[in-house]
């Protein structure tokens, strides 16, 4: 019934050799006679030998140092769930000899990333999980890591020029299409909508463009003469959103729906006029203020990028690699979750 798991000792006995020889065959270390090699390989195949990962790891007995480098949640609440995800993973893997530590950088300051990434390297990590927010600097960092034999995983932002590491994130173009689909439904028989980019000082530029492209592609595919206009709330105007939005709506009175390409949809929702025809809003990310707007009805849909899961998976992949020799998946695209006032709660954990 419960067929006992074969051990190296079993195989050695069957082949009439010693454990050491079997081990040499398994690990292809050579120094084995042809005869013994053939015999052992045959047996290995026959019984479909699976090494006991637990025992293998017990012997290794090394503590791996896994460092995580992400934007500071204090500067942008979007990142707060990442910390949770990291801590969850840390709790799960510390028992398996993986020690995880988090470093935070200021997402609005490239310099902060540079200095923190140097600090990370100084700590001699075995692996690093990080968010490559700044393209050029991220590439430099990747190079340094390679030189130091540091295993890498990235999440949230895609570093297209380098495909040597694992990436966990979303298909942004596709998420723009999803926003398009939702907006399409919200518009009913109206035909005019807007894309609004509201970013902070740091560069989400590529992100926002990809999303807009997806959004527009969706409507173009419909071939029904939709009119999509783009508006960018300037960096410095982020404090004067109300005015910027009012002016924009005055200039484009026919707009019945707005797609905000960042997590700042709540700023826009708050700035919308209370009177006049309702304007539908689709935005990103389950931060508290956005959820409030979802509940009050001033935001219709949010797209969830699942930052917690992204961070959790990044850390888990590397941890499992260290602890259990598991292969690291190179690309993991998370689903594009659609959130309304009725289903947000289960995504908050």
């Amino acid at each position: 019934m419960l067929k006992k798991k074969y051990t190296i000792a079993d195989i050695a006995f069957m082949a009439g050799v010693s454990k050491g020889t079997v081990d040499r065959v398994i690990h292809k270390r050579g120094k084995v006679s042809k005869k013994a090699h053939e015999k052992i390989t045959k047996i290995l195949k026959e019984i479909d030998y699976q090494p006991n990962l637990v025992a293998r790891n017990l012997k290794k007995n090394k503590i791996y140092r896994l460092l995580v480098l992400i934007p500071d949640p204090e500067k942008d609440a979007y990142w707060a769930p990442c910390v949770e995800g990291i801590e969850t993973a840390a709790g799960e893997f510390q028992a398996f000899g993986v020690m995880i530590e988090t470093f935070l950088f200021d997402p609005s300051a490239t310099k902060s990333f540079i200095s923190k990434s140097k600090e990370v390297l100084k700590n001699k990590p075995d692996g690093v999980v990080f968010v490559p927010l700044f393209y050029k600097e991220a590439l430099t960092f990747v190079e340094s890591c390679k030189k130091n034999n540091v295993t890498l995983a990235t999440f949230n932002s895609y570093l297209s020029a380098d495909n040597t590491r694992s990436f966990i994130g979303q298909d942004l173009h596709r998420s723009g299409r999803v926003a398009g689909k939702l907006m399409h439904m919200l518009l009913g028989n109206k035909k005019q909508a807007a894309v609004v980019h509201m970013d902070e000082a740091y560069k989400n530029a590529i992100h926002m463009q990809e999303k807009e492209k997806g959004f527009r592609d969706y409507f173009e595919g419909l071939k029904q003469g939709y009119d999509i206009v783009t508006h960018k709330v300037p960096h410095k105007d982020i404090k004067n959103v109300r005015k910027s939005v009012k002016d924009f709506l005055k200039d484009n009175p026919g707009i019945s729906g707005i797609f905000v390409t960042t997590s700042k949809a709540y700023l826009l929702a708050e700035a919308l006029p209370q009177t006049g025809p309702a304007v539908s809003v689709v935005g990103y990310d389950l931060i508290d203020k956005n959820i409030e707007c979802l509940r009050s009805g001033s935001i219709d849909f949010l797209i969830h990028q699942n930052p917690k899961q992204q961070a959790y998976l990044g850390v888990s992949y590397l941890s499992e690699y260290f602890a259990f020799d598991k292969k690291i998946p190179d690309n993991k695209l998370l689903p594009i979750d659609i959130i309304t006032s009725e289903n947000y709660m289960h995504y908050l954990e």
Copy 2:
């Protein structure tokens, strides 16, 4: 820097006792003097001792038998992803001494469940993950398992009378509300919608009722005079859906949206008249035929119950319990995923 992990030997040395004594304290086996006990407990707290799970497991060296009992995907395609989820988990945990086997029953035949569940017990499992489709019979099975000291987890269907096992699934009432919200948006300024129950021969009765209740609750909360009618396609008419649906629409010409409470929305979508005013459809589950309808536009939204993840988690929870002594969560409500033609692909894995 890398502060070494403390072992039982370290603690024994610090406390000036032997490893055996430390072990007795950790496992509360008694037979330890008050003095030694205090000293050791204090040290354990101070250093926040974390046992090495790998070593612990190595010592245990037992192969656990975990059996899974689910409906046969051949009889209902909804269950196919569960098999994948189970196989994924099986692959992950076999290296840790958990052997997983699946048993299938016919979801349309209570007898099949009874006989298969008996077969499962005959195999002397250490743990069982199963879908309690048939309420009474499931309770009986739970009792037998308890008697035989079999650890249990259930998924998909909630066994309210018994809260001694782990459950993974969805909040059905809430998912009805989500459907309500989506329908609300799809209706635009129309005011009449329908709930259609299309089940097969077996009893989804409780499921369908919960979903309908949530759906109606949502619209009642709006206080805007929506008119919701219910229609049930009789068991035997499942082959004559077209006629049943046509008659229903003829009797209720004002209906602009239909909520199908089972995975059979495609049957309804195919039966809708091609001419006349469009009817919006919201249904459940990412089975192939439903996805086809999503893509062609005859279904607007699907709610994803994530059967693969449900099965995967059920198996994982028990496996981790056996392999690593992890606590089993008692209740895991999965998010209610909203699916459109634009985002279904990432949910198929």
